[in-house]
Structures are given as structure tokens and as C-alpha cells.
Symmetry: D2
Amino acid sequence: MNSFGRLFRLSIFGESHGAGIGVLIDGCPAGVPLNEEDFLADLARRKPAVQGTTSRREPDRPEILSGLYESRTTGAPLQLFFKNTDIQSADYDLFRDIPRPGHADFTSRSKFGGFSDNRGSGHFSGRMTLGLVAAGVVAKKIIRPVAIQAELVEAGGETDIERAVDRAVKEGDSVGGMILCRIDSVPVGLGEPFFDSVESLVAHLIFSIPAVVGLEFGAGFEAARMSGKDCNDLILSADGKTETNHSGGINGGISNGNPIVFRVAVKPTSSISRPQNTYNFKSGRREQLVIKGRHDACLALRVPVIIEAAAALVLADLMLLEQKIPRIFQA
Amino acid sequence: MNSFGRLFRLSIFGESHGAGIGVLIDGCPAGVPLNEEDFLADLARRKPAVQGTTSRREPDRPEILSGLYESRTTGAPLQLFFKNTDIQSADYDLFRDIPRPGHADFTSRSKFGGFSDNRGSGHFSGRMTLGLVAAGVVAKKIIRPVAIQAELVEAGGETDIERAVDRAVKEGDSVGGMILCRIDSVPVGLGEPFFDSVESLVAHLIFSIPAVVGLEFGAGFEAARMSGKDCNDLILSADGKTETNHSGGINGGISNGNPIVFRVAVKPTSSISRPQNTYNFKSGRREQLVIKGRHDACLALRVPVIIEAAAALVLADLMLLEQKIPRIFQA
Amino acid sequence: MNSFGRLFRLSIFGESHGAGIGVLIDGCPAGVPLNEEDFLADLARRKPAVQGTTSRREPDRPEILSGLYESRTTGAPLQLFFKNTDIQSADYDLFRDIPRPGHADFTSRSKFGGFSDNRGSGHFSGRMTLGLVAAGVVAKKIIRPVAIQAELVEAGGETDIERAVDRAVKEGDSVGGMILCRIDSVPVGLGEPFFDSVESLVAHLIFSIPAVVGLEFGAGFEAARMSGKDCNDLILSADGKTETNHSGGINGGISNGNPIVFRVAVKPTSSISRPQNTYNFKSGRREQLVIKGRHDACLALRVPVIIEAAAALVLADLMLLEQKIPRIFQA
Amino acid sequence: MNSFGRLFRLSIFGESHGAGIGVLIDGCPAGVPLNEEDFLADLARRKPAVQGTTSRREPDRPEILSGLYESRTTGAPLQLFFKNTDIQSADYDLFRDIPRPGHADFTSRSKFGGFSDNRGSGHFSGRMTLGLVAAGVVAKKIIRPVAIQAELVEAGGETDIERAVDRAVKEGDSVGGMILCRIDSVPVGLGEPFFDSVESLVAHLIFSIPAVVGLEFGAGFEAARMSGKDCNDLILSADGKTETNHSGGINGGISNGNPIVFRVAVKPTSSISRPQNTYNFKSGRREQLVIKGRHDACLALRVPVIIEAAAALVLADLMLLEQKIPRIFQA
């Protein structure tokens, strides 16, 4: 459903072309210094600011509606809200009857009996990730000195990412991408197997991000092709440091103190300007669809900061559970 | 922690060399016909029966300790228990101080302050998956006609799997493998995004299986290298059938009626008979470790049925939630 | 924490003197007709409108910020928000150091390290129940024809409630009250024992309402003094109808088709205008406190509609679980 | 459903006349000293040992099937199992068609479509509380020095409890009772309002105990008749100590450091030997039923230790959440 986490819990809500998008964070420790400026850097990374991303322009400045008093979290639920302003809904009316290939138009229509708010993809919009990024900012604060960094390392199969995106833009097409995430200074002992292994929780959250289609930890798919002697990471010292890091910093679902490393595959944006065939539910016939609207040629460009947020949220939850984060931050 | 699921909930417990292994299933509908024989086929697939798997031999016959009356589920919790019989714990004493590379020896020792039951890897043993497979048998019954099939399609990078395993056995080494899972007859509309997308729930459970290091849906990592026009699946008819299935049967986190397809990467067994370097926590020095015990040269051989169980468990939960499974099965 | 429910889940947030109060509802079926007017009748019953309730005046008109499209729920989370307008915070500064007897001033200060928003009791204000009442309106719609009615049957030990309240007002004092709640047309079979019996879930929610200090089902405390032959309800017919209803419509934690009946004890408002002794944390001395502010002489007057909401929310969750409410409401 | 708790989680299973009764505890810290003897004192208090309780005799010695190694908890799930031995099921066959007044026979039959195991009331037997008591023993260990004491203070409306029970036995009848529970040495700050107030969690668990029909904290129902000036507890010192304890040690849902005090109403045993009228579902007619079997004349005699367990379980969960209990107990 729309909540995640055991102790550091977030709930998201909103629609792309409704009143706004928001996130509710429950279980945040009291006393964490916080203000609206803290969100701007990460929100800017999620924004469409470069070639190859949508031309929609939103200020994306959070209103902190609860849980903050005199610039400190109070221990009560934090509610962050982003008003929608730059809305062009006419673009989307069409897709009620003629679902876009690769989109949630058909599935959301079926699941919710035609009652979903389809404008701008509604609750299925990539814009929902605003809430994740905002919550991630809070999480990053409380997990310090744990540090997370994600970057796009490949687009459309190329490492020259700019070139791949340019080509897609020119062709009215789109490209997918590959994101590498690395987490440093992770304490040993995070993770609650059997079911809440570090990988399980990270995967749960990562696969809720629209367009994510693959995830691997450490050597990942390459490990499936390796032998044990090459894949095993030899332990070097009492702190668990290993010679290699094929396991991606996790053994038995629990962090081993080495960097946590994982890679995420993002599919190409489904909305492309080239004509595509689809099925018209009104006429009952196949027909050609041209999607106008405003879209990312490579939405993977905007995903790294969302991946970081997801990782931070999982770690905040696990660190609270393992009592590595206090319930009250001192002034 | 050790439970998973919202309506069809399972909790696992046990240790490799303790009294036994078990699973508790809560939320199973009443009236489902069930007996001990029903479990044998899937349990046999999980058993080490071929070249390249451990020589430990357990009957693996479930005792149904609660929730069943006159061969029908009662609606009360189902408790399945597997007694351990073929135990050789002396093999494992060593690893308390000298953690095996690639294993949970170091992380479980750190997390639980040295109190974990280390015998046979205790609660971190691959044997814990017995409970998953057993619960999967029940889940498969109630999700019919949905049908799940997983198979090992590659080991050590080769499609001639037998050859890859033979070589590993000869060299005292091990190999990883790749599993393909396909689910047919899936109703449209399963999945509870934002956070409980089909992919998220499947990923959560799959990544709790020991040795799983990668997961991709549909075109997966290949999609990250594709363009939108090649990746989008064109809708052909009112039932949502698509021309291709690059999305793996899921859009916006919700099943679209096409087969759900995903691939799982399994790393090579960590326990190999070749000597490996590691750190001795007692002596405070690095030293060479030779693992005796009994181990799989390719544990991926036994994983397909576990993957099927994981998929069935997720679908049972989602189908109950979507009211596609009744609370009472009629006689 | 601040969420409740398995399938019909609500999360509340906000502070008495912050930006506002709200509730997030996840799991509401799609297609339920809803608009702002629907909330007004119940919200009016919660409002301070009569002798003996606070003089604070808020419009309490909900903004529906998400989950609604063309006057129907969409299946996505419903976010309801109530802006605070009539705020007089100066009244409350005092209580940071000099906690009011019977209030959460001391406990919230201790738990959250002094970081809570103390204005108007912040997140501990009775005003938080706005969210409950609003969510209850939605729940009442979907559980139809189940009908819930709660009323104040006693205040300060008298059945002439007006007289009891008048006297309290005159004396600068306050009085508690007793509420009777009755639920009709309940289907047989609701409740998920062992732990989620109807009584357990109702009790969980009822005891989260500020000032509730007692709860009894059916004959309740009187039953503790009865004999089995007098207390047992004799079954009259195949639909489970019983001669008496000492069990309050529940057996073994499951609804039996007779009216569910329970009584709730509400303590007197803690804030009274008479001087009271307390401890001054700044001076380290006991001293006399006079609470000015605006307060209810009998907050129990406003509680019946909150009790109804709590009951409706539990029933909505249980009826969804028992598949007595569809996931999609037809137009 | 059959699980309870956020961090210290228990799941119960079993039937009165099946293989046995058990409890699974997840989230217990590692290193807690534990052995089978530890359970005997509390289990003996739950046993039918005196006049007025059933004549069924079970050894009630727990088997610890997992989670314990060398007499210390390991951090993995603890599984406790009690085999059933003294079973006389023939007694119960009757009630499938002729439900006993005041029992779950009718509701469980309806909810589970006639598939429940009705022998000895199956999963609805008071015997299910064995698991609660056993889990309570573990909880009591980890919450020390918090100390819980419950006692029966009234039976059938009399304080001479023995006399009340004797009379009931003689008359083939049964009586209810009142239990007082007091918890000392509670740290300030436990409780997670809004929804997980101390009262809410205690109430949730207490109302899952069969036959509990009422619960009040502190002055409880009497408070509903009091005025604010008489009910408010005046704070005396910096540790929160109050002059009176009408609030029962809780303000705003959070423990205030004074003893937590609550009272529980238990209804009379439903099974009595006197003939009672009920409905025969087979014949479709009302008829007289005589219950033979073995039953408590006053089951409230056995309930105090169950109430203590419930309180201990809630406190263990809240204290872990508030980081007042470590994740590892040192040797």
C-alpha cells in the first residue's frame, strides 16, 4: 500500500495534477534540526533541469505542515507538502480510453474500475517520488555519518550519457539507464533477516520507484557466472574489512561494515513522441497513438537522488531498530 | 524480521542443527484440502538429490501441528514443522572464531553478540528455506489457476549446467546460477503500489532467500540499454494482451494480465573445500581455513522451487487483498 | 505510532496551533461518492457548540487534497486537511515549565526531550480527533447498511447532563461522562482473533482517544458480578439472534449478528480554571497554577461522534478483510 | 490476526485437542538466560489447580524448539510448544450443530464455514492463553526491574472469593471476577500515541484474552463520575510523582513514572452444567443443551497471570522501541 517502514515510517499521497504531492513521516526522532532549505539541494537533483527531461517547471518547495517547531523536529509526524502549480491536464484526457504502451493507464483503469485520476498519470506519476526524495533528506540527516552516493553510469547502453540522451531527443525516442549506488561508513550488524535482510528492504523500496526493472548487489548477475573461490570476499581484519567486495557489503542479509554497493536498471521512459500502436477501449479497435505532453527522454537522469533517498530510508529504519540512532537528538 | 505478508502471513523459525525448522502460516482461508503428501513433490525438488548438492540426508516430511482438521484447513494458523535428524555439528564449531568468507558467520556474531547458534549456520542456514517451500505449497493451492514455473537456465555462466557443476565438484569449488521464473494466468489488477507493487513484494521475498544477489523483471538490465520504442509493449486487445512482454507482465506495479516473468541471480555457494584465507578472531591473526562439512557445489540447483514458493506467497497475499481468493473454500 | 488499520489504514498528523490537523486514509475502495459537504454533520457534532465546551471557533471544513476525482474516491490515498485559524498560543507558553495536572505536558516533555510543540497541547490536543471523525465519515459510507449510534448517557454521575455541566461551569470545574455506543446490522463473522478480536481492535482505537479511561462490552463490569446462567445469551434462531445481549454482540472475538454494544468512560477535562498545585521545573519548587486558556467543562459532550468514528473505522477494516466491502464501488 | 507487537512480536497457534499449543516470539534480544524451569511458576498459576477450575490435567511443560542455544536466547525466533496429552474430544462433537450459549461455537462455525476444529473449542479454547503466559515469562525477564502483579480481587461480586466459587460449583453454575493489575518501576516516556498509547496496546492484548469484557485504567469508570478538581493528580516533584494516581500512571498515552494500574472484568465461564436452551442447526429447532465436559466454575481464578503476561508483552515492545532494553544482553 502507500506506507513503508517499521520505526521510521513514510506514507505518500497525492497526484500529478491534483492539489499536490506529499509525504508523511512517522517515527522521526525529536530534536533533529530541519528547515525548508535543507530540502532544496536534493529536490533540485530530482528536478527536470537538463536536456532530456520534461519541460514541466514546478518550484518544488516543501511546506512543512506538522512535526516541526522552532526548526527542530518534535517527535510528532512530519508532514511535507508540495503544491502543484504548472498543470496542463488537457494533455492526458485521451489516455483514459487509449492507454499508452508501457504505462499504468491500462492497469490502473482495470484495478480501480475507471475511477483513478488519470491526469498526468495521477498517483502513478513519476512526480510521486518527490515525497521519497523529501523523506530521504530527513533520513540522511539522522543516519550520519553514513554517506550515500548514487550516480547514473550508463544510458542507452553507453557511458557517454549526454550523447545517448541527445540522440534519443532527436529521434523522439527515449533511453534507459544504469545507476550505481554506494553507501559508506555503514555500521556492522544492520538488517533483520530472515525476511528483512538489507537487500530485501532496499529492494522493496527501490522496486516501488517507477521504471526500475532490475537490481543487483555487489557482483550481482556477474556472480551467477562466477566460481566460489573467485566470488568469496576474504576477511582481512577484526572490523570485517574484506579484500574484495563481491558481496556488496552484506552477508546473510546483514551489513558487514564494507561499503554497500548495488546497481539499479531503469527502463526507458514509456512516453515517446513517435507514433505507437495501442488499443482503443472506446472504439474497440487497435489504433495509432501520438503522445504529446512533456516527457523525459531519459528519466534515469533524475533517478539517482531517488535511489539515495530509498537507501537512506531503509538505513534510518534499520539503525533505529538496532538502536544506532537515538530517539532524541540533543541540541 | 521473521514474518512476511499482510493477509497471508508466514513466520519462519528454527535452526539447521537445532530441534527442527518450521513455518507458521496465518490467514490461510478455511476449507482448503491439504495433507502431508501434498508437500512431498516440492520438498523433493528442494532436497539435495543430485551431483553437486550436499550429502546431508533428511526425510523432510512435514508435521502439520495445527490449523488442519479432517484434511481441511480450519482458518486457524497452520504450523508446519520439520524435525532435524541427520546432524553433524562438530563440523561447525570452528567457525565461531574463524568466520568463513562469504558467510554470515562474522555478521551474525557481531549482530547477536556471539549468542547465535552457529551449528550448521543455525538460523542462517539454507535449510531455513524448507519453511518457504512448504508455505509455497499451500499458497500454490489457493492461487489456482495461476501457475508458476521456475527453472535453472544457467550455471557458472554456461547453459550446459551439468558440465559446469561437474567441473566445480572436481575442483573443490562452487558455481552460481541463473533462474528464470514465469507465472501464467495472472489476473489483471494485482499489486498495491506505491510501496507494495508486485515487483516490490516479489523482490522483498526473493532477496530474503540466501545467496540471491540479483533480480530483474521482464527485459530487466537489458531494458536499461534499450530505447523506448523498442522496449514499450504494444497493447493488442481489451484483455491487455501485448505484442511483446518486456515489462514482464507488470505496469505501474500492477499485473497487466500477461505472464509475469523475472530472472534471479544466485551466487556460488560460499562453502568450498579449497583452502581460503580469513581472520581468526581468537588469535587476532589472518590464517588459512579449510571447510570440511557437506556443501552444495551449486546450490542454485535447489533454488527454483524456492523461487516458485516466494512468487506463490506474494500472489496469495495480493489475491486475498484483491478479493480474488475467497475466505472459505467450499467442499 | 500514528497509523492504524490493516486494509483501511489511517494516519493522523498535525498540531493544535500549527498549520493544521489532518488525516491520511489508505486503502479506501475506489468509486465511493464523496464531497466536502459529507463531512459537515459529523464535524459539527465534534465542534464546541454548546455550554460547557471551549470557546475556540474553527470552521473545520476539510480540504480534500488527494484521492478524490470528480467526486469519487480514486483508490489512491485520501488526504484530508483542516487549517488552523483561531489560534491563541500565548496561553500555553507557561506549561513548558509548569505542567498542568492530568495533562500530557510532563510526559511529552520527558519523552521528546523538550522538543514537542507545546502550543495548545500540540499533537496531544483533543483537536487531533478531527482526523478521526473525518476518516469516520468515509468509513461510515462504506460499511452501510451497518449503522452506528453513540450518545452521552451520563455526566458527572448524573443523567441530567445539562445540570451537571452547568454546575461545573459555575464552579470553574469540569465533569467526566459515560457514552453508550450501539452498532446495528452487523454481519456475522467479523473479527480476526486471537489478537484482532472485535473488542481488541475497538479497544485499541477507543483508548487512543484522549480522556478515555474505561471500556466495557455488553454487560461488562456487571458481568464480572454475574453467574453464568444469568450472563449467557440463549440462541433463538439460525441467524444467531439471542434472547439477551450480555455479550454485546460478540462471541470469541467475532460478531454474532446481534447489536454490538459498548460503553466508554471519559474522565473530566484536566484543564480547569480553579487554582491547582503542581511542580515548577524551572524553579524546582511546587507552586500554584491557574490555567487560563479556553476549555471544555465537559469534553465528553463532544466525544460520541469520535466513538462512532472509531467503531466505523474498525468495522471498515474488518469488513474489507472479510470481503464484505468491495474494492470498487459501482457508479 | 494471530500476531501482536512491533519489535517484540508474538504469534500463537494450536488447538485445544490438536497436537498442541504454541507461541513464536520474534525480536527477543540475544543473550537472555532462559531455560524450561523459568516457565514453571507462571504456568502453574495458569493451571487448573484449585476448586472451581477444570479437571483437565496437562503437564504444560514447554519444549523450546528454536531460538535458544546453551541456555541463552540467540536473537533468532523462539518457538515454545506445549504438547496436548489429556484429551477427551468426544465431549465436544455435539456443539458443531448445537452451539453452546456464550461460546464461539456459532461465530466460528459461521466465519470458517464449518471447517474449524471444534474439539475442546479448538483455536478458541482458553488453553490458547498458554502461549501468552509463556511469552510473558520471557517478556518479564527483559523488562526488569519493571515488576507486574495481578490478582483476583472479586468473584461473583464478592471479595470472599472462595465462598463465591464454592457456591457456583454447588449450583452447577459459574461466576465472573475482577482482576487488579499494578505495574511498578515503570520508566517515564513509554507509549507511542496517537494510536499506540499505553492504554491502547494494553487494551488490544487484554481484550484478546477470552472472557475479558471490561477494562479501566486508574479511576476508570469512577472517573466518569468525578469532577476535574478531584480527578487531577497533582505533580509533586521533578520525577513526576503525583499525590494521587487517578490517571493510573499514564498521561496522554505515555507512562508518567507512577505505577500503572488497571482493572479487568472477566465474565463467568460460559460452560455450565445446568441445562440451557439453544438452537439446533441440524433439526432447525430450539432445544435444551446439557454441557458435560470439564470446565472452570470461575475461570477468572486463572486469569491474573495471563493479564500479567499481556502487560509484560506490551512493555517489552514499548521499552525496546524506546531503547530502554538493549538488543544484546551481556553474559
